[in-house]
Structures are given as C-alpha cells and as structure tokens.
Amino acid sequence: MGRIKDIWGFLRTRKKWWLLPIITVLLLLSLIIVLSQGSALAPFIYAIF
C-alpha cells in the first residue's frame, strides 16, 4: 500500500498523468513477477494467462 501511495505521489508531483495507464499496467505485471519469481507457484500463476 505504501508503494502505491509513493507512485501516486510521484504522478501528482511530477504531473505526468499520461504515464498513469502504462504505469498501472506495469505495476500489475510487476506484482505478478515479484510474487512468482523463484516460487514453485510460478507455473500455476502463469497458467492463468
């Protein structure tokens, strides 16, 4: 949650709203990568796609 707040603060301070859609999608992807890296669950997670 703290990280999301940081990124929101970043977009607001820098006023770079056109980055919002790309950053949102990349953050979701980042979560998947972080959760699955080095984990035995990765094949189950990626099977969803």
Binding site: R3, D6, I7, G9, F10, T13, R14, K16, W18, L19, P21, I22, I23, V25, L26, L27, L29, S30, I32, I33, V34, S36, Q37, G38, S39, A40, L41, A42, P43, F44, Y46, F49
Partner: protein, 674 residues
Amino acid sequence: MGFYDKPFLKFERLLETYLAFAPSGLQSYLKSMPLWLKEKLWMGDLIKKKLHGYKGDIKYPEHHQSHAASAFFPSPFEEAAIITMDGVGEWATASWGTGRGNRIDLHSELQFPSSLGLLYTAFTYYVGFKVNNGEYKLMGLAPYGKPKYVQTILDNLIDLREDGSFLLDMSYFNYCQGLTMTSDKFHRLFGELPRKPESTITQRDMDLAASVQVVTEDIVLRTARYVRRETGLQNLCLAGGVALNCVANGKILKERIFDDVWIQPAAGDAGGSLGAALFVWHQILGNHRDADGVHDLQQGSYLGPDWSDNEIESWLTAGGYPYEKMTETDLIDTVSDGITAGRVIGWYGGRMEFGPRALGNRSIIGDARSESMQSIINLKIKYRESFRPFAPSVLLEDVEEFFDTDRASPYMLLVAPVRASHRKELSEEEEKLFGMEKLRIPRSDIPAITHVDYSSRLQTVSAKDNPRYHALISSFKKKTGYGIVINTSFNVRGEPIVCTPEDAYLCFMRTEMDILALGNCLLKKEEQPPLKSKDEQCSERQKSSEAKSKEELRKFGLIMTGAFAALSVLLYFRNTSLLPPAAGLSGFFLLSALLYPRLLLPVEKLWMKLASVMSYIMTRVLLTLVYLLAVIPTGLIMRLLGKKPLQLDFKGNMKTYWVTVDPEGPCSRPEKQY
C-alpha cells in the same frame, strides 16, 4: 541510510524515452523492464530485505547530487565549485554547483539524451571496446592516433556552446531506443561498421580515439572556465564517470582555470554510494564538516575490508600453501630485491582500495626501468592488449624528479609528462613511426610507465597515507636510485580487483607472477603446489550452493500440496476426470514432505526449471502486449498533440543548453524516490 539516486525518476526517464521513440525500442524495453519490475521499482523494500529488516529511513539524493556530495564533502576545501559529468543519472547527464561548509547546491544541469559520457561511450563501442568498461582503453589508445575527426564530430554530432553545454544529434546514435550505441548514419559518416572486438586495432581506430578525446577535453575545459566565471570560486571538485578521464583532468590543471582541483577517486557510480551517505550525514542531519584546505577526508581511499596477518596465516595453513612469515622490514627488503631482479610481485595488505584504482594495497608491482616489463605484465600477467600503458607509483618527495608537476596525485587521477631529463632522444626514423610501432621504442629511462606521448598517469605515495607501500618504494630506491615502480591493479583482464587472500592467491597462481606478499607472508611461485583445476574448484562451490536443505524441500512439498489441493477443489466443481490425478499428486507431495523430503529433490529441480522458463517467456509476452497496446499508442498520441518528452531538436537557437535546477524540484526532496 542513503541510496544514490531516485528510482522513480529514472523509471520516468526510461518510459518517456520509449514514448519518444515508439514504435522503435521494443528490444531495449524488453531488456530493461524485467529488472525494473522485479527489483528497481521496489528499491526501498529490497534494501530493507537485504539489510535483514532495517527499519529506519532511507533517503534518495538525486544521482548528480550524490556525485557532487562525493566530490565536495571529502575534499579539503571549505568552499568550492563542483562539476559532475557521467553517462546519465535520472535526467541529468552533467551538473555544476557549489559546496560551502556542510552543504552543496546544484545550480544547472544538462539533460538526457545529450551526454558527454554517452558520447565517449559511443566511440568506445564504435572502436570495438566494451560499453561501460572499455572507456579507459579508448583513452589509452588516443595518444597513438591523430585527432583527424574532430571537425567531423563538431560539424555533425554535436552542437557545442562556449559554456560547455551541448546537444547531440540523436540521429547518429542508437542508445535511446536500441541495443547498440551508434546508428547506421554514424557508421556512414565515419565510413565503416564498428570494429569487431578482438579484431586488429587499426590506425583509424587510434585516430578516432584521439579525436573524441580532444572533443571531450574541449567540452570539459569550456565547462570548467564557465563554472569558474559563474561561481567566482578558486577551487574545483570533480566526480562522475567522466572525471576518471585523467587526461582531461590534467588539462584543467595545466590551464590553471582553478587554483586547485580535487577529484573523487571513486568518481564512477560506486562513489555515488559514498556521496549519498555523506549527503545524509552533512546536509540532512546537519553534521559539521571540518576542512583545513590541505588534507582531504578520503583516508587515502583505503576504505575497504582488511584481513589481519593471523587470518591470512590461518588461511594459508589450512590450504597447505607454503609461505614464509617475515617481519615487515625483511619482507620489504626481499620484495624490493625481487623487483630489482625483474620479478613481478603481487602486493597485498591492509584495507582494500575504494574505487577503480589499486593504490598499493592490492597491486601488481614491477620495475619501471625495464624495457620489457610493459609487455610482460600485459601479456603474461594481465592477459590484455600490449598497448595498454602502466601507471607509476612514485614517492611523493620524488615526484618532481621524474615528472613535470609539483602536485600530489594520491589517487592516480592526474596525468603529467615525464621530465625531459629522463627522456631519450628518438632518431629521425623512430620519430616517423606510426601507431603500435611506436610502442616498441623506449622513450625514457622509465619506459614501462612512459606512454607514447611521454605522459604518465601517476600515483604519488606518501609515508602518511600508506607507510608500508612507501617503505617498499623507498627500499627499491636505496638499491637502484629510483623511487618509482610500476603499479597496476591486482587482477586479470575482465575480473575485479582481488579482495580476499584467497582471491589474491588464485590470481597469483593463474598468472605468471613470481612472488606474492600477503600481509607479512611471502609466497614464491616455484614452491606452490599445482592449483586444483578450475572445473574442480567450480564444481566444489556449485555442489555446496546447490545442496538443498531438507527444510527447503519440505517447504517445496507443502507448497505443491496446497497448490494441487486447490486445483483439486476447482476440478471437483467442474466434475472432470482430471480430479483423481490432481488429488493423488497433492497426497504424494504431502506424504513426501512429511516423511521423506529428499525424494522431492529431482521433482523440485525439474519443476523450478519449468518455473524459470515459464517466467522468462511469459514476462516477455506480457511486456510485449503492454508495449503494443499502451506504450506505442500513448507515444503516437503525444506526438500528434505536439508533446515532446525529450529534447531531440538538433541545433536549437538557445544560447545555452544548461538547464537551471528547480529549487523546489527533485533535489529538494531527498526523502522521496522522485
């Protein structure tokens, strides 16, 4: 705790670069993004995890703020102008400002993609050396060439202003959107494709190196003069990768633009960590800084780890390696005898150097008077190109005896000419030689450290900074009359400088070094047992790292039990024939985990391999989708609306390309990652 840049701002620059160049750039995007998404975007969490639950604050000074802090805070000056130049930080590629007491302030910056560091790196790449690694080779190659291409560079690649600010014509470069530094247009301009690594270096390569070196010096000198005028300050502090260009540094001193110059020895990004720490200590926490105008606070840059004689002896004894324990006086006497006899010495002891230069604690040492020593050390010890010059360590009190300078250079960051009294007259025929042919002609009575243009990148050694090393060179001087030796870093090409006694021993045994001084223990090559083969050592290390503990396998088994159990529940509601095998696998993993986890070892190996392959492929597939569906459309829409994330218009009509640093911008919020 301080981290040396602002990850979110860097990420912003990356994304905006892709937006500016979309649809080009997919390859570069696919290469950089996985690491960003895995680690760099979560830097705070990563630092805390790696520091085992550190709970304090983390500050994020801007990249060039960190460089500036690393240049000013350890310097001897109470106040000074600061210049930083490198490849790129967040957006800035160079900056200047001032330091006073315990505070630094950046005034202006140049912004990506115009970068002196990247211009130099582009030529490094074009001449066939490794990017971010071979820049010092290009600098070493420059004196062999003639600067024939300076005008071509100035007319085509760069729009340079009197104040040292400039724009690059990005149509000649490919580093924003591609995996190479230079574009086809660059290759057409200079008439050939980039030189293939390991192919023969030609006179043309040397001329290119000489040309970009002249342009670099021109930019650095213009910037230094401008900053001197603007700040009115008498002293200068330098940092950033470009400050490792000791030839350009030497020019600043020679031109007497500033009364004195101090350069951070770890001028590259490694030094950014030191800068970030000092920034937090002085500027954020407000701690006082003492500056006496003479002595710096870098402690000789001997800031790394140390091994005591007892620890070294225990390691040697445990390994069964023959050695002789000596008093320091005897050791120094024996080693200086060895140097006099033309032996190559591995010299190890005390705290490791911080920064890219070995300064006498992790050094390979030889006789600077020897005509063959440069190629012996290059080809038999360092396994590198024979043109690469060596640097001397000279007693501080003898520097004027050998070189045209009266300045101390304790960190090997200054270049000075060898004194005329030590030079040898060249015959007319020798004067006419070109390129590498010049290498074979001894140019002074200390030929191993005299470059083809009579220059030398020297280290002055004082008894105060490094008494052991000073005593060694003094002992050599007593025997030969020369208070000067070759000093090159203790490593072989492509490997880092040795850190531990084990690193030093392995490097000693794998090269043709004759003697190794490990602390006060002396090892002779001929007495050592043959080294275990590389494969044997690797496989031993591999075995120990691969050995999975019982607990890890049990954890794996339980995770798989849970995953297959969840799958079974799903399959139950779908009523398919796959339910029994899924439930069976869940049971198998549970029983194995509880009763005999070792049974799971081959399954775990195969499964984790599958996981890693799937992660690799799926990450790239999903990233490509994001690029196609989000990055390209956003980039194209921005261009239609006239929004330009990067300054790409070449030859603008601005008087200067320096951009004033916003006092309320990123530099003013070290607590934020942006």
